[in-house]
Amino acid sequence: MIKRILVPLDGSDGARQALAHASWLQRASDATLCLLMVREPPSADEHLGAMVGVPPVETLEADDDSEERRLLQAAWRELGNAEGHVEIRVATGSPAPTIVEQAQTFGADLIVMGSRGQGQFQSLVFGSVSQQVTESASCPVVTYHVPQSETES
């Protein structure tokens, strides 16, 4: 039986559908949901930063994840499953490894994620995140695919 479900969200449509799906599962199995948002540090655009790819100083110092938490809370409220158990997490790092790592610390027995995210290169970017997660996660991964025409409309 599924007890702990991790749902990485990135504000995209596919992720929202995946969340709705996870919510079904939660109701069916009384599991705990973990909503995760991964912050990707931008690389600095001044000379040194651009060369070595480190994030700008401000983002390292600004440790304020209240905006992400607010988004996740809103996504959770939208599901209208007030009595379900939920945990909100915000982590910083490169998406796929961070998701896998968080799945481990949360003790997830299932990851549910969308297959087409926000990245500009559509499936190239987020599609590859879900692929990477699928390959490296130690628990089952459910990938949610929305037909192309639906994502466009």
């Binding site: 559908q17 079904w24 599962l25 130690s138």
Partner: protein, 148 residues
């Protein structure tokens, strides 16, 4: 309107897991589950069969169909959810094409499938079936990947 869920079954472990998953969904919303098996035509194991790719002498499509239906019945029984509404389908053809065609003609809302099947050249075969299906299906598709 009840949700129509299609679950392709090839007898593999990952397909069984996908079916378990579909059953969870069915318990939540009372959907109808369509189990679909696409028989693969076997190749005879004798010398001539191996050379020409011919089927064994005792192979008939009717027999393959019967075996397919048994496979589906067993898969369904293994889930232990006997009160859900279920239909069994055995269809011939190329797996990905048949899955998508059935999804269309049955007005399927959701396909749930494993991402690594029986013909295990490490996901080459069925892994690519699920890959194809996710790209051309007219409906939502869930792929379930279980780590080895």
């Amino acid at each position: 309107m009840t949700r129509q869920i299609l679950v392709p079954i090839d007898g593999s472990e990952s397909a069984a897991k996908a079916l378990e998953h579909a059953c969870l969904l069915q318990r939540a919303d009372g959907a109808t589950i369509h189990l679909l098996h696409i028989p693969e035509v076997p190749v005879a194991q004798d010398a001539l069969g191996r050379k020409t790719g011919a089927t064994p002498l005792d192979y008939t499509p009717a027999r393959a169909r019967e075996q397919g239906e048994n496979l589906l019945r067993q898969a369904w029984q293994a889930t232990g959810s006997h009160d859900g509404s279920v239909r069994f389908l055995v269809e011939d053809g190329h797996p990905a094409q048949v899955i998508v065609a059935q999804a269309r003609s049955l007005n399927i809302d959701l396909i749930v499938m494993g991402s690594r099947g029986l013909s295990d050249l490490r996901g080459l075969m069925v892994g690519s079936v699920s890959h194809k299906v996710t790209h051309v299906a007219p409906c939502q598709v869930i792929t379930l990947h279980v780590p080895e």
